[in-house]
């Protein structure tokens, strides 16, 4: 567990930040509401 945690933390530190203006894609589901949500 110690080794795994270290790897995970290292991965977080090495994560490439998104460029400015990046819009994350919408989640695949649920889809858009066409009229209104009850």
């Amino acid at each position: 567990p110690v080794a795994k945690r270290a790897v995970a933390e290292a991965a977080q530190h090495n994560k490439v930040p998104h460029p400015v203006g990046f819009v994350p894609p919408p989640p695949p589901c649920p889809g858009k509401v066409r009229h209104f949500k009850i």
């Binding site: 589901c29 889809g31 066409r34």
Partner: protein, 246 residues
């Protein structure tokens, strides 16, 4: 090297929307009472590959009631979705489809419908009338009076009640019953029905023999009744309002 599996379908992908359109068409064409439903949202989609160009698709759909009765010949795309303040009714449907060579077919569907909570409507619109039970005494009385009034003033075929579609009752500032109901033509004229309405038989199923009526009955402070009926099919649209009513 094996090909990577295709990315899962998103709910707003064109293929998902195409499947949902087929599903909604199936649901409406297999419903025999109430109103047509329109797609509001694709809640979820799962695709189970069965082989080359053959998938089974599971859809979860959120639908909303329109103003078009299920017997109305109006195409769904021309039907208006009821507004929230009209006390909307939602349909939750699970649909299983098969897609073979790009063509969808529905294998099974299961739907439940429920009205929005009265509390939510009141919060947004305190004076809006709320949906009433279809067997509510005031509703049944209003529909009976409205159809009787319509038949007594229309020389065409005597109309019989098929079903009450929805009804709302307003208590303030006036006591009013709003009802919508489907009707069917009988083999009697209005005059023949006066003698023995019970003997009048519904005509064979044909779209032209059906109609849809909207009635408003003011109970207090005054007493008024208004009914408008539209007959479907090849008969021209008939709109009727008794003289002397609002």
């Amino acid at each position: 090297v094996p090909a990577a599996p295709p990315a899962p379908l998103g709910c707003d992908d064109p293929e998902s929307e195409a499947a949902a359109e087929v599903a909604v068409g199936y649901i409406n064409s297999h419903s025999h009472y109430g109103y047509k439903f329109a797609l509001n949202r694709i809640e979820n989609i799962r695709v189970i590959p069965q082989g080359l160009n053959n998938d089974v698709i599971f859809l979860e759909l959120d639908l909303l009631e329109t103003t078009c009765h299920i017997l109305s010949p109006t195409p769904l795309e021309n039907c208006t979705v009821r507004t929230f303040t009209d006390h909307a009714v939602e349909g939750d449907c699970d649909v299983k489809l098969q897609k073979v060579d790009g063509k969808f077919s529905v294998l099974a569907s299961k739907c439940h419908s429920h009205a929005d909570s009265s509390e939510d409507i009141i919060q947004l619109c305190p004076d809006c009338p709320l949906l009433a039970n279809l067997n509510n005494t005031e509703v049944v009385t209003a529909v009976t009076a409205a159809l009787s009034d319509y038949n007594s003033k229309t020389p065409d075929a005597y109309l019989k009640l098929l079903e009450i579609g929805r009804a709302k009752i307003q208590h303030h500032p006036a006591h009013i019953v709003f009802a919508e109901f489907a009707v069917a033509a009988t083999n009697c004229s209005a005059q023949e029905a006066k003698d023995n309405a019970e003997a009048c038989q519904l005509l064979p199923d044909d779209q032209s023999n059906f109609g849809f009526c909207k009635a408003t009955q003011v109970i207090s402070p005054s007493q008024e009744l208004e009914v408008n009926c539209q007959l479907y099919g090849h008969q021209p649209g008939v709109t009727y309002s008794p003289p002397g009513t609002s």
